[in-house]
Symmetry: D3
Subunit: 176 residues, 6 copies
């Protein structure tokens, strides 16, 4: 089992490389991202429940909290590396070995095998979208990413109204 201090220290000091490549000097770390995904996923689950759509809030929060743990071992490399190594499988391998007690939760998210995992996968992309909108407001070029993520999020048909809500709130002036 991994050293928990090492895990946290790595996640919380590893900047997400996409932001660095766009010039953000104080870029969001992996653990800041995880925290944002967790909050969003929880809010969305609560919203869905309020609409009468059932989804277990605690399961959503739990999955979100552990969904990026593999990056404590793997780091957060560029897109090109992830495309090359079948990143998903590598992540799963690490999770199984280092965090076996979280492996099932991880798979829900990674392969969207159930609605809980689907909500977290949606929140994961949404977190990156709204961060990109914030960085745009501060003067960084994130238009390509905003467009790309909005496209991916739009494919979650049943969550379209959720997407609209967050875009209206966090991405005014982003041209979406």
């Amino acid at each position: 089992m991994s050293d928990v201090l090492s895990v946290v220290d790595t996640l919380c000091k590893t900047p997400r490389v996409g932001w660095l490549q766009r010039g953000v000097s104080n870029a969001e770390s992996v653990c800041e991202h995880v925290m944002l995904v967790t909050l969003l996923a929880g809010e969305i689950a609560a919203q869905l429940n309020a609409e009468g759509v059932e989804v277990d809030l605690t399961k959503v929060l739990a999955v979100a909290a552990v969904h990026d743990l593999a990056e404590s071992i793997l780091g957060h490399p560029g897109r090109e590396v992830r495309d090359r190594v079948r990143w998903e499988e590598l992540e799963e391998e690490v999770i199984k070995r280092e965090f076996p007690h979280f492996a099932e939760l991880f798979r829900w998210y990674r392969y969207e095998t159930n609605f809980v995992g689907r909500v977290v996968a949606f929140a994961d992309k949404l977190a990156t979208l709204i961060r990109a909108c914030r960085y745009k407001k501060l003067g960084f070029d994130t238009d390509d990413l905003i467009k790309n993520l909005y496209g991916k999020l739009s494919k979650y048909d049943d969550l379209a109204h959720i997407l609209d809500l967050y875009v209206a709130r966090y991405c005014p002036g982003a041209g979406l």
Copy 2:
């Protein structure tokens, strides 16, 4: 409802004041602490399950992930402030108003109203203990805190073997 970016940015840039007061220049933030509590709580739940003690892993993770959210509004003031304001009640008030969907989970932890909450409350103190041990190893004076936390953790009788395990692993040479 709170602005999620504001919540994350505040939690992840707010250093825990106790470390600053002991001279740690790059001190653990509230969100680094939350991440550590979440990992520990999850590990402990898994360990308990392996021992035949039932506790819901996803609930433990969920509670840990949200247990310090009130600090995004309240900040992380010194002990003297917390003692003065009935900190627990103030936290609860904030949670109810800003994160109503997490209010029940918060109460489990804050008042240890069930075993899930108790495990998280234990992990919360344990996270601070092992961070204090790490800082001690780097040359900072944290002996008072180590002693104090160990005392509090020792009162969780049914988790004594868990405490021993973590102390052996993360606090060798701390004189516990």
Copy 3:
């Protein structure tokens, strides 16, 4: 008496929570604020003297330099906490206990018991106003704060021309 290294390390690593809540990632620390208040208070005193209004420059500098020392013990919590605890009294209590030699100077500022204290109290709000204007220029939402502080500063009738001068210099385009 407090450990001076602990005091400085805490003040200089504690970000002012209001900036964090508005998304500033590299937010002004308490000691950066103190330095700004000191410079402003000194400039204002010099300006007043030049206008024939007497105020002791060294006393103004001295009061400004120590006016936030209590935060080394108390931290810099959110507005909600300060409103709850009668922050002023708590600060005074800490100053009396930890920095008794500065207690009189602190009271001049906190309760504006004389003109020296009044100038520092004005400079304290002014420092926050011009920082808010700077952050606005960088893309952060500080309009509410700018408006609120300008309102408070406008009540210092005899310093109205000073306020105009600084607003013209540091807040062009802030709509004041």
Copy 4:
């Protein structure tokens, strides 16, 4: 007159180069040093007053607060640069031009023209000494500096008992 935001931003983001050269990665900035000198000078003045030695506390605080302002224009270069340019004169020139209202206070300190200035000059060196002792405790090589500063501080005969007090408190194990 200088832009006050520029002055503070420069002082508070300029690391003292001597620490960098000894490998301290999160080194004390000029403004952290100023804050430390101010606190120490104030404590010493209070202590002297308690002993029946008269020295004006507010003047001591005022001088300490402004003693390094020239570095906002000059930066904080290495020893070799300072030795070459008659640093004291250059500082005075900057102060006279940019902060004329503080020029007299600056001279008290720089040329130790009165007891107030002498106390601040002593506190300036003492602040560096106790920071060096702290860094030594964390594993950095500061022995040469500790020795050198202790030598200089020892020449202030009438403040010898003050030196002993601070060394006992902040430099145990430094071999002084």
Copy 5:
């Protein structure tokens, strides 16, 4: 010979004071600047070679990599200090003493004694120009610097087309 860890730690933690004075809180360090100069100088050399103008790529990279090493001893003081001390001579003195093996390369750059040195001197100014353009885009006032550097760079007649190319790419909207 200098301690290499001390050299790197100093260069990479010393912010360029001009940016601090313009309010950039996370300002480019000397070593970030060196890296940028090296990349630019290499690109320019390659471009010149492609145009049929001969210049040794490896020599250009080598000179760029060492051109600011003296700042590890001298720090990065303000313009006023550099004007006062005949900075170039002081740098050369330090290089000769601490890095004698790099002294010849340094002189090529500092006195532009050959085309290699001239390309690096050009890249040095260009690196500062395009960083100034980037900071302008983020909301900082760097117009004076942009104008000043563009003027200096325009004097390199034979590299005018290179200048145009970089200005078009990195300074759109800077009014050049």
Copy 6:
């Protein structure tokens, strides 16, 4: 061709993941490492020349300065990722596409196809070794890495005396 600002910003804000995993909170970035390799490689080349062993100093510096540029695109992932993707080939691919003018220099280093490249490859490992020794002195656990790197460096038979020299200087007390 890559955006040079993006390249530098990424290299200089990407911490080397191995240090994070060992708990170093202010870990060496890729560009700090590059700077260290460059200085060491230059020193070693000068030393070899002094011994009568010919190696081109400018070529050594040039290769060292560009040897890690691929990480601006790829990031700095954990060992496990690098082992999986044939990291060397991926790096070469990126260099050829993004920095074709540096491709030959890169290959000298990566495949140690000549003595220049061999010296840089040696300096690359040596830079990591002496950083590990420094971190050990500050209280971090780097023993495994120190041992491992020393083993690899010992295989460069003709540079054994160089290794001894640096170990004596930077790793006293590391048990080598």
